[in-house]
């Protein structure tokens, strides 16, 4: 591969219809649910606009180099993750296998999140929205107790959707409505990935572009809502003091890393369907920048809506206090408005302090409502749904919002499934004559059957576990070995010649420095910091327990030992593939060298393997 690689003779390898499809697929894979529900949250808790500084530094020194590395690797070797790493060196084949295992684990739980989105979507066609009112209790004298003590939105999420148990050890039964939605989601994934990139390439036009349309609509709507400007000011006001906290830098680095969907093997698979003479450097920079811009663009409507919700909650708080005061003192209606509330309160407090104390008024503080930050499923299914009820025409907004979330998640699923599908196709698990449709059908069916355990009543606790352990540490380990493998085992000189051949120009010094020193070092630091932070306290989770004294606050619980063992297994399984495969090849090599009749092939040979 040091000289110009031969143009592969087999046209049997599928290829993209056009360059735009490829770029759109990479963008779709990178832009996912995290851009909408994790980035704005991080911005909010880490000092608003100041968070952009560590974010862009991480993008420059970690995100873009790793992305370029993966795309160049896939394009150059024209193989999926397992095949590509086997080609680089059989000892590094474990990196590809590790990527494959992570893709499998993530696909399983990611589609279950989409199941919840689908459930909310099909429930958005009702009037009134089912999460806006509490159901009545048995004798119709009041509202359902669990719903009354928390809110209708919380009740719909925890009881009607998840039907959650108070403890992870109590599994409960399978929830039939979630099974139906899960089957639908896997059917949609099968429909779109049935023939690999032939079908995903067509589907991606819709699923990658549609979220931008909806985000724009929400942006326009969000900016017209009252209180939107408060939310935006709160989000973007920079607080440079937060940069002194190392946690901020760690969060920025991990966010960039997971946001770009690195180390899944999906990007390598996408790039492998490219023609070899393609400018992968420009592609990498484009995809990374579009991903970050999308995160910023998405945070504007999210924060407008959160500001609107905080303002409405603040007004509700004030109104409730005003009503109590008016009723207690028998003052005429509309004598106390929101504007003169503070002057009235001070006047009444000075003249009738005991009466005011007896009313037990809640202190209403807008800042307090703005400070209530949520990320992840809580943002989408609790906070946003509550805000949607307050908007006029809530059904339309709910439908749009959930379709947007679904397309964001679906385009990321395409990348995940491609990361599973392409290596299996190359390993020739099934015979060549069998159609591709069969392999994708088998993958989707087996994944559906395994994912059924997430539809148990304790399913959402398990999804949190998968998210925290399978989708975090292994990726860092695999990415580290990727960079080390290309920079020091394959050698940067060789790789830069290949990239030069593909892009047509010499490799910039920036790539040399980041691939050789900065990115591996950064990954190592992030990995150490991440593991240290996780080890500091025993792994715990918050459970929804109606019988808890502090209800509706969630109860903090520690994982039982068998669950902790599963967490360790999930995190270790992909990582352990790397040394296992290397060991396996070492043993095979030693056995062959003992056999005198056998001529050992070159270990680092990749010339003949390029196809």
């Amino acid at each position: 591969l040091s000289a110009a690689p031969e143009i592969p003779k087999e046209d049997a390898r599928p290829k993209w219809d056009n360059k735009f499809q490829y770029i759109l697929s990479c963008i779709g894979f990178a832009v996912g649910l995290g851009n909408v529900w994790r980035f704005p949250y991080l911005c909010q808790i880490h000092g608003g606009g100041a968070f952009l500084i560590p974010y862009f530094i991480a993008l420059l020194f970690e995100g873009i180099p790793l992305l370029h590395l993966e795309l160049a690797l896939g394009q150059c070797l024209r193989k999926g993750s397992v095949g590509a790493w086997n080609t680089i060196s059989p000892y590094l084949g474990g990196v590809g296998v590790g990527s494959w295992v992570v893709s499998v684990l993530v696909s399983l739980y990611y589609n279950t999140v989409l199941t919840w989105v689908m459930w909310y979507f099909i429930n958005s066609f009702q009037e009134p929205l089912p999460w806006s009112v509490c159901p009545l209790n048995e004798n119709r004298t009041g509202f359902n107790e669990e719903c009354y003590e928390s809110t209708a939105v919380n009740y719909f999420w925890y009881r009607k959707t998840l039907n959650i148990t108070p403890d992870i050890a109590e599994s409960g039964t399978l929830q039939w409505w979630l099974i139906l939605c899960l089957a639908t989601c896997w059917a949609i994934v099968y429909l779109c990935t049935i023939r690999g990139i032939e079908t995903t390439g067509k589907a991606i036009y819709v699923t990658a572009i549609f979220p931008y349309l909806v985000l724009t609509i929400f942006l326009i709507q969000g900016l017209t809502l009252p209180g939107a400007t408060d939310g935006l000011i709160y989000l973007f006001t920079p607080n440079l003091n937060t940069l002194k906290n190392p946690r901020v830098w760690l969060d920025a680095a991990t966010q960039i890393f997971f946001s770009l969907s690195l180390a899944f093997g999906g990007l390598i698979a996408f790039a492998s369907y490219n023609p070899t003479k393609n400018d992968c450097e420009k592609d990498a920079v484009t995809v990374a920048i579009v991903n970050s811009m999308t995160s910023l663009y998405a945070s504007i409507p999210v924060f407008s809506v959160l500001g609107f919700k905080a303002t409405t909650a603040y007004w509700d708080c004030l109104d409730r206090n005003v009503i109590s005061i008016i009723n207690e003192f028998d003052l005429p209606e509309e004598s106390i408005m929101r504007q003169n509330y503070t002057s009235w309160i001070s006047f009444l407090n000075s003249s009738y302090p005991e009466k005011i104390a007896g009313l037990k008024l809640k202190s209403c503080n807008l800042q307090e409502f703005l400070d209530q930050s949520v990320s992840g499923t809580g943002l989408a299914f609790i906070v946003f749904t509550q805000a949607i009820i307050l908007m006029p025409g809530s059904q339309a907004w709910a439908i749009l919002f959930f379709i947007m979330l679904f397309s964001l998640g679906l385009s990321s699923m395409f990348g995940n499934i491609e990361g599973v599908f392409t290596p299996l196709l190359e390993l020739r698990i099934i015979s060549k004559s069998a159609p591709k449709e069969l392999l994708s059908g088998i993958i989707c069916l087996i994944s559906f059957l395994i994912a059924l355990c997430f539809t148990l009543r304790s399913g959402s606790y398990w999804i949190d576990i998968f998210d925290r352990y399978a989708g975090s540490v292994p990726l860092l380990v695999i990415a580290f070995f990727e960079v080390i493998g290309v920079a020091y085992i394959y050698k940067i000189k060789r790789f830069s010649k290949d990239v030069e051949w593909m892009t047509g120009r010499k490799l910039n010094l920036y790539w040399h420095i980041t691939w050789r020193f900065i990115s591996p070092l950064l990954l190592l630091i992030v990995f150490m910091a991440f593991v240290t932070l996780q080890m500091q306290k025993p792994p715990s989770y918050t459970a929804w327990n109606p019988k808890y004294e502090g209800f509706p606050m969630k109860e903090e619980k520690v994982y039982p030992p068998w669950v902790q063992a599963i967490c360790v297994l999930l995190a270790a399984l992909p990582c352990v593939c790397v040394p296992l495969v290397a060991l396996f090849h070492l043993v095979k090599q030693k056995r062959r060298s003992k056999d005198p009749s056998f001529v050992p092939p070159e270990v680092f040979s990749s010339q003949g393997a390029n196809s």
Partner: protein, 224 residues
């Protein structure tokens, strides 16, 4: 004559004042929020509205006990504030200076709550009888849950798409197989009719085929 009349009136007035006061026995507090309910179309609460209220309560009592002894004058209002809130009692004209038991009044109001609300263009929240709870109306539930219908539509579309793609894939596969077998047959046919690399049809042509070897040799010799 006049003096006895004045005396009875004052006695009645004092008795009424005794009967209707805040937290009296069998008295209920009413709280009305007209501006909240009607906004710009709000009417003012005056003596006429009070008269209507007394009439509605008397109507409720009559309907409940189905004897026509309750008169408008039996309903006493007092302590009207700016809020608008006031207390009322229903006196029993058959027994002097006593009030109808609170449970009867409560039951009567409950039975006719809807009529009373609509007379004032208000609802349970804006015309509040404190101490009288209202029965909550059950939410409207359609026979088949709406989400099942939507789900059915979505699923049908997806299954149709999958079937279409699989069928078109099988057809393409068959066409490709047919094409490749045709191509093989064509190649075989061509092989059969080749002799020395020249198709037999060409050899049958009258013009013949120039043998390039001899043509080149001719030029070496001088022409005769």
């Amino acid at each position: 004559m006049l003096r006895t009349l004045l005396l009875t009136l004052s006695v009645v007035a004092i008795a009424h004042a005794e009967l209707c006061k805040p937290d009296a026995q069998n008295a209920f507090k009413v709280r009305i929020s007209i501006k909240t309910a009607l906004g710009d179309n709000a009417y003012a609460w005056d003596a006429n509205e009070e008269y209507l209220f007394k009439a509605m309560v008397a109507f409720a009592m009559r309907r409940y006990s189905s004897k026509s002894t309750t008169q408008i004058s039996n309903v006493l209002l007092c302590n009207v504030t700016d809020r608008v809130s006031f207390w009322f009692v229903v006196t029993d004209s058959s027994k002097n200076v006593t009030t109808v038991p609170g449970s009867d009044v409560e039951a009567a109001i409950r039975m006719n709550r809807n009529r009373i609300n609509s007379a004032f263009l208000l609802n349970d929240k804006t015309l509040q009888f404190l101490k009288i709870t209202s029965t909550l109306s059950p939410p409207v539930e359609p026979s088949t849950p709406v989400w099942l219908i939507v789900f059915g539509v979505v699923l049908c579309l997806i299954v149709a798409g999958i079937v279409f793609l699989i069928v078109s894939g099988i057809q393409k596969h068959k066409k490709k197989n047919k094409e490749s077998t045709e191509r093989e047959n064509l190649e075989e046919k061509v092989e059969v009719t080749l002799e020395n690399g020249i198709p037999c049809e060409a050899l049958d042509l009258k013009a013949g085929h120039i043998n390039g070897v001899f043509a080149a040799d001719d030029e070496r010799f001088t022409s005769l």
